[in-house]
């Protein structure tokens, strides 16, 4: 279980104070207006924001003293997830050994991860030769080989076509069930996530204002702020 309790990030022009509980193995979608602090929350969980107060724990373990590399999470950005001078295979391999001198069993793990995201044929290509969706799948494959139980996705499929976006969300859903991952994903288009997410959190003005299963949260009339965001 992931627990945020008044986790506070403070900037001169922005203060975020997040409380959120996500059960193990759940997929939690985070929605909300731009500039409301969704990305800051994910970065605070991953260890990229200076936290000034509150608690953060996963499976009962306090994460706050840990550096980004020591936390049980992998983070996918909207863009620039891959190193352009490395092939898809090497980019996945980075998740196992940054030095890229992989053993036979590690090579097998990389191949399996690429197969899981249906990119076995593209293993030798560089990011420049891949489509936007393929690049994000390579990044997902790297997150898989890292075997970290908490997967954070920051607008990962925002730049993709609607059909492709749906397919990527289904892929993420399947992978988290197969690999027992807890997933938190920020998303701009709540309708896409309705079938896959267990929970939806509405983040605005630097805090989690509402949190409920999608069927309850995404219907009109839940709250005025949500209605304004959804455009109903």
């Amino acid at each position: 279980m992931l627990e945020l309790n008044a986790l506070t990030v403070h900037y001169p022009d922005f203060t975020g104070c997040y409380s959120l509980t996500v059960p193990r193995g759940a997929l939690c979608a985070v929605i909300g207006p731009s500039g409301g602090g969704k990305t800051t929350m994910l970065h605070a969980i991953a260890g990229f924001e200076p936290v000034s107060g509150g608690t953060l724990s996963f499976a009962g373990r306090n994460l706050l003293p840990l550096p980004p590399a020591g936390r049980p999470c992998s983070l996918l950005f909207q863009d620039n997830n891959l190193f352009p001078h490395l092939t898809a295979e090497q980019n996945v391999g980075l998740g196992l050994k940054p030095g890229l001198s992989l053993s036979a069993s590690e090579r097998t793990a990389v191949a399996e991860a690429l197969a899981a995201v249906e990119l076995s044929d593209e293993a030798a290509r560089r990011p420049g030769e891949l489509s936007g969706g393929q690049r994000q799948r390579v990044a997902l494959a790297r997150a898989l080989v890292m075997r970290r139980p908490l997967l954070l996705l920051d607008e990962p499929f925002g730049a993709l076509d609607p059909g492709l976006r749906k397919a990527m969300i289904n892929l993420t859903d399947r992978l988290r069930r197969e690999h027992d991952l807890t997933v938190i994903m920020t998303i701009h288009t709540p309708a896409d996530i309705a079938g896959a997410a267990d929970l939806v959190a509405f983040v605005a003005d630097g805090e989690v204002q509402h949190m409920a299963p999608p069927a309850a949260l995404l219907r009109p009339g839940h709250s005025s702020a949500l209605d304004a965001f959804m455009g109903v």
């Binding site: 991953a46 260890g47 590399a69 983070l75 950005f77 997830n81 190193f83 980075l94 998740g95 940054p98």
Partner: protein, 519 residues
Amino acid sequence: MAGAAALPHPGLIAAGLLAALIMAALAGLASAGGTATLMPGPYLWGVVRGAASQAALSTVLSLLLGTALALALTRRSSFPGRRLLMAVMTAATVAPTIVIIFGLVAMFGRSAPLPALAASLGLTLPAIYGLHGIVLAHVVMNAPLVARVLMAAVAATPAEQTRLGQMLRFNPLDCLRHLDGPVIRREWPGLAAFIFLLCFTSFAVVLSLGGGPANATLEVAIYQALKLDVDFARAAGIALLQIMLSLAFVLAFSAIGARLPDAPGQARGQTRPDAGSRLLFWIDGAVIACAMLLIAPVVLSVLSGLGQLPSLVGADVARAALTSAVLAAIAAALAVLLALLLASAAEAAPLGRASPGRARLVELAVLALLGLPPFALVTGLFVLLRGTGSVSGIGLVLVPLINALMALPFVYRLLAPPLRQSAERHGRLSTSLGLSGVAHLRIVAWPALRRPLMAALALAAALSMGDFGVIALFGGGDLVTLPYLMAERMGAYRLDEAGAIALVLVASATALTFLADRA
């Protein structure tokens, strides 16, 4: 824009005029008498070989020290003296060559503190005069340039990738391989071409620190042919040789993808995955200490002139300062105008469709301008113009013209990238809005170009103000600039007064750069 298709772009006209000017100058020089030799003899080939190996050595050492310094300063975002070092690095890249020479002689010359210290320990340092002196001067001037360009390029790495490095537990070697390596590989060829050409055609450094004909460059050979042998045709031949070699060099380099290095932008801080390594801590400390010891004393030696500043109060210094300022202002305006014309010609294409081939051609031509021999040009033009006015009157026209040409490659790399960016970002939008002419300039181009334009003007003015090339041939009589005066004082061993002038020169160059950064 009707009718614009019929006329060539003004930038192309400017390029044509420049080419015609260069050819006319060489023809004028060749016609002025002397022994025309189209085939260079063994002496000249010796000069070419020597200058090429000197330039190669200077380039390699500048790249190595500059890169180490860039990485060390990127990893160590705060330590006492960092701001001083950064300021000294900026000063070293804009300081007049003659000031760097003065600093080196002051620090390493016969009666300087370092050799004296060594002597008291029973050691003898090699004299500053000779190949190592030349290379040292070139490294002091160019390593900070490399460092500043690379720091800006490394800082432009997407923040996501630096965070990935943290998340993936990159060790220092992984950081070098995945974060910095690709940036270094991308920037090195252009930087190398730039520095090699600068050192291959170096003049003032070689003339002052050369210590003999063994270390001459073609530029020095031209100077000698003009000033000592008074053999104009020979000078024209050597000038042609230098232009041809520079062109061939630029073409060869373009085959491996060299481009002009972009001017350094502002570097912003990022937490580096390798900042915690103990080993790197010591390595970075050593690199920074080396740079401090090598670069800082040379630049800061001008402070020795502080006490002598009062001695500068006098008519000749005031006159020289005024002359310098006027020449620099004209040269800067001309250089910026030419760079703007060329850059917009490079980007001009119907409907905002970029033409990479043309942009590349203009960029290569600008890079090749580094190989232009200023003495040959100025003498050739003088030959053509003599009789039309007094020597100093003609000089007043020719010195800023040649200085503008010399500053053009530096100015171009400040102006071309923002112009290209503005065209890429807003080209279609302004076309669709029907914005053209003055309205386009005012609304679209000016806001994007204001800062780079100020920076370019300041840099060109600083470079021209410190120029000790053409003026060495032309100066004297009525046309005396600050660097000329400084060289005179150095020649007369009035080093304190020379130091005071150097201080004024560095202060004005640094002030110009500082103002441009605030623009």
